[in-house]
Symmetry: C2
Subunit: 206 residues, 2 copies
DNA sequence: TGTACATCAGTGAACGCGCGTTCACTGATGTAC
DNA sequence: TGTACATCAGTGAACGCGCGTTCACTGATGTAC
C-alpha cells in the first residue's frame, strides 16, 4: 500500500508528530552521538511506538535526512536574513559579521557537537554527505563574496582559495571545541587571534 | 582465569597474530569506517575465529585503543626522526618542513580517512579521545616551537595561539579532503595558499 | 635426547541483546452528501 | 445535522540479523630436568 511521502504528514496533528520525531532525533544525536541514534530510542523519546515511526519515516535514513534538511534550511535562513542588529557598528565589514555569526553558532557545545555528528553520519550516507557539501559550498561562497567586497584587489581566484582555508579553519575549530581539545588556550584569546588572521587574509596581497 | 595483558602476546607467533589483528582492524576502519568495525569482521579478516579474538584483546575497546596507540606511536616517530632528506634546501625553515610532512601524510585519502574515523571513535571512547588529545598537543607544541624558532619576536603566547589556529586549519583540511569537499578547488593551489599563510603567520606581528 | 608439564594458541557452539523493519489490525479524524 | 466512507494515526507482536562476549574444551609449543 502506497503511502504519502516520508515526513510529509498532511494533517496538523501528523505534522506536529513528524516535527516531534525530528526534535527527538536531534536531541538524541547531540546527547548520545550518531552511535546512539536508533529508531527505537527516537520513537520512545517522541512518544511513539517503534513500529509507528515507519509511518512517518519509512527508514532510519529518512529520519536523518529530514533532520539534516530541516537544520540546514534553518541555518541558511539565519545566515541569509542577517539581522540588522550590528548595523550599529558600521565599521564591521560584512566578512567580520559572517565570521562572528559562525563563531557564535559554534560557541554552544551543543551546536559544535551536533555538526560534528552530522559529519560522522555523512561518512555513511551519501545523501547526507551531499547535503553537507551543498551547505558548505554556499557558506564558502558567502565568504568569497565578503572577502571580495572587503578587498576587491585580491581577485576572485585568490579570494576563493583563502575562503576555503577559512572554512577549513572554522571547521577545524569545531573539531577541537566539541571535545576538550585546546583546554589550555582560552577560547576568547583564540577567537581574537582568528579575527586578526581574518583581517590579514582580507588585506595582505602576498 | 587471569590471562596476560591485552595485545601482549608473549611468543613470536602470538605477537604476529596480535599485529595481524591490528592490521585487519586498521584496514577495516579505513575501508568501512567506524560503523563497519566489528570484532567479527576483524577476526575474519585476521584469519581468526570470533571467540579467539578475545584471547588477544578481551574487549573491542582494547582493539581500538591498541590500534590507535600503535598508529600514533609510529606517527610520532616519523615526525620526531625528521629525515635529513630536505637538508638540501637549507632555506626551508623547520616550520615549513613540519607543515610539509603533515600535508604529505594527509595527502593520501587513506590517511585522511583514517584520522577522520579516529575522531569519530574518540567521540565514544574516552581513552581514545585522550590519546588523540595527547597526540595533538605534542603536534601543537612542535609547531609552537618551530614558530618561535622562525620568529622569536612573536612571543610565546601569541605563537601558541597561532599554532592552535594552524592545527585547526590543518585538521579542517583533512575533513574536506576525506570526502570530496572542495572538489572545485585544486588542492595544489590550496596548499600553496596555505604555505603563504603560514609564512605570514610566522612573520606578521599584527 | 626424552619425557612431563605448564603455558600459549586456537576451536566451536552458544548466550542474550538491541536493532530496523514488517504486518495485520484498530481507533480517530476529516469530508461528501 | 446525521450518516457513510475514505483517509490518517496509532498499536502490538513478531521477524531475522549481526553483534560482543562467554565458556568448556582441544591442540601446539615451549621449558625444566
Amino acid at each position: 500500500m502506497m503511502r504519502h511521502r516520508p515526513g510529509t504528514a498532511v494533517l496538523a496533528k501528523g505534522r506536529r508528530r513528524a516535527e516531534a520525531i525530528l526534535d527527538a532525533a536531534t536531541a538524541l544525536l547531540i546527547e548520545e552521538g550518531h552511535a546512539g541514534l536508533s529508531t527505537r530510542k527516537v520513537a520512545a523519546r517522541a512518544g511513539v511506538r517503534p513500529g509507528h515511526l515507519q509511518y512517518y519515516f519509512p527508514a532510519k535514513q529518512d529520519v536523518v535526512r529530514a533532520l539534516l534538511e530541516r537544520y540546514l534550511a534553518r541555518a541558511t535562513d539565519d545566515l541569509t536574513a542577517q539581522p540588522a542588529s550590528d548595523s550599529s557598528s558600521a565599521s564591521a565589514s560584512r566578512l567580520e559579521t559572517i565570521i562572528d555569526a559562525i563563531l557564535v553558532a559554534q560557541r554552544s557545545a551543543e551546536g559544535a557537537r551536533f555538526f560534528w555528528e552530522l559529519w560522522a553520519l555523512a561518512a555513511r550516507d551519501p545523501a547526507v554527505a551531499e547535503a553537507m557539501q551543498a551547505f558548505y559550498r554556499s557558506y564558502w561562497r558567502r565568504i568569497v563574496g565578503a572577502l571580495l567586497e572587503t578587498a576587491p584587489a585580491l581577485g576572485r581566484p585568490r579570494a576563493e582559495r583563502r575562503a576555503a582555508l577559512l572554512v577549513a579553519l572554522l571547521e577545524g575549530l569545531t573539531l577541537f571545541r566539541s571535545r576538550g581539545g585546546t583546554r589550555e588556550l582560552p577560547l576568547p584569546l583564540l577567537e581574537r587571534e582568528l579575527r586578526s588572521l581574518v583581517r590579514s587574509l582580507a588585506t595582505t596581497l602576498d
